[in-house]
């Protein structure tokens, strides 16, 4: 495997928690890998499983969906719906032979800049092990 491989990760971040959390990580000058390309969404419940699938098929090395902690959703229950949906999607992707490390999910609140940094570092580490996504090339 290429030592210099830098994974491309697409991050779907909820506007109210994770996006602010990532922002906090930046303004607190916490250093973490710059592999995540962030797409801001209103809620983790906004993320259609099709988004994740399309990212992976189009060649993203990883997809991270991040939202508010359970009970903290700005829209009360969006993250409950997301949790249910992605639990099933994760199983389906794994069954179809797509490395289960490539799709991950996390709850990061607006106050958890350090957690955001940890989540991203951990994910980049794992995807470096999984290698580049060449399945659909």
């Amino acid at each position: 495997m290429n030592e210099n491989f830098e994974p491309k990760i697409i991050g779907f971040l909820c506007n109210w928690c994770s996006y602010a959390g990532a922002d906090l990580a930046g303004s607190s000058r916490i250093s973490y890998p710059s592999n995540v390309r962030v797409i801001r969404v209103p809620c983790s419940g906004r993320v259609n499983p099709l988004f994740v699938l399309r990212c992976l098929i189009k060649g993203a090395d990883g997809v991270l969906v991040s939202g508010c902690h359970i009970n903290d959703c700005h829209y009360s229950e969006g993250n409950y719906h997301a949790r249910r949906r992605f639990a099933v999607l994760k199983q389906l992707l794994d069954y179809l032979g797509i490395d289960s490390r490539r799709f991950q999910m996390s709850w990061v609140s607006a106050a958890e800049g350090d957690k955001w940094a940890k989540v991203v570092s951990g994910m980049v580490e794992e995807i470096k092990k999984a290698g580049p996504n060449k399945q659909f090339k």
Partner: protein, 290 residues
């Protein structure tokens, strides 16, 4: 049994309880069955019921959602009626379900195989709903009750695939899904694929490639399966109509198994229950979330 069926349908039509009854009749080739729509009580003699009645007729209910319709269903088919009621596609009071006790049907049309050597369909071998769980009128099969209906392990093939390594699994699906010619027969025949505009037909935005590329085939088949997660009732029609012989049931079954294990959800059992993804529980599993 057929006599009883014909009488019941005749009664329904004569008493004007329904505008139409959807059932099965003999096809022109004298081997197969075809869907049959009856509005005239005098035509009830044409109704048949045997192992050639493989279709799930529920598909037609969507087109007749504002009419009073009687429908002849097997145990598996009735679950799609329940799903359609759950999803507010049809009204319970508009449908009269004529349930048939069923010991299993053939897996393919007779004309494709000749009249001999026809097997019981794979879905029937692992079936546990020989008597429809919901019905307004039940047509009993006295002979069937005495037979021992052995139920095979329905998830055996799924576990075989699960036990492979991710690379092997991907290669397996790559090989199977590369056969896909995007005819969308699986979608057309599915009683639960009723969106007026399918995501596969959308061009703004176009979600996935329509070409016969690996990415297009993978995307379509994954999306089709995911849209049926927690809804698929395993009538097996998608796999039966697939001209390329893709084992679509193996994907559907996997999702059925997962939603059962994760959320204890079974589709098409209780018309009062909400569909899987319209609701949630506070204790849904979240081990996979960081």
């Amino acid at each position: 049994m057929i006599k009883k069926l014909q009488e019941e349908v005749k009664k329904l039509l004569a008493e004007k309880k329904v505008n139409m009854v959807i059932g099965y009749a003999r096809a022109g080739d004298a081997i197969n069955a075809i869907p049959y729509f009856i509005a005239n009580p005098e035509e009830c003699g044409a109704l048949i019921w045997d192992k050639t009645c493989i279709y799930n007729l529920t598909n037609y209910l969507i087109d007749m959602r504002n009419k009073k319709v009687g429908i002849i269903v097997k145990g598996c088919d009735v679950r799609s009626v329940v799903c359609l009621i759950q999803e507010n596609q049809i009204k319970k009071e508009n449908v009269i379900v004529i349930g048939l006790q069923c010991a299993g049907v053939f897996d393919k049309k007779g004309a494709e195989l000749g009249a001999v050597g026809r097997e019981r369909a794979a879905k029937c071998k692992s079936c546990n709903v020989h008597t429809p769980p919901l019905f307004d009128i039940l047509i009993e099969d006295k002979e069937m009750n005495q037979k021992v209906l052995q139920q095979e392990d329905s998830y055996k093939e799924i576990r075989e695939i699960e036990n492979k390594s991710p690379e092997e699994r991907f290669d397996y699906w790559k090989k199977e899904l590369s056969k896909c010619i995007k005819c969308y027969a699986c979608r057309q025949v599915c009683p639960l694929c009723y969106c007026p505009v399918c995501v596969a037909d959308q061009t703004m935005p176009q979600w996935f490639s329509r070409s016969l590329s690996l990415e297009g085939n993978f995307a379509w088949n994954t999306v089709r399966a995911f849209h049926l997660a927690g809804r698929c009732i395993d009538c097996g029609e998608c796999e039966r109509v697939c001209p390329m012989g893709i084992p679509l049931r193996k994907i559907n079954k996997k999702l059925e198994k997962e939603v059962k294990e994760l959320f204890g959800h079974e589709s098409g059992v209780d018309a009062e229950k909400k569909p899987l993804f319209s609701t949630f529980s506070k204790d849904d599993p979240e081990e996979f979330i960081k």
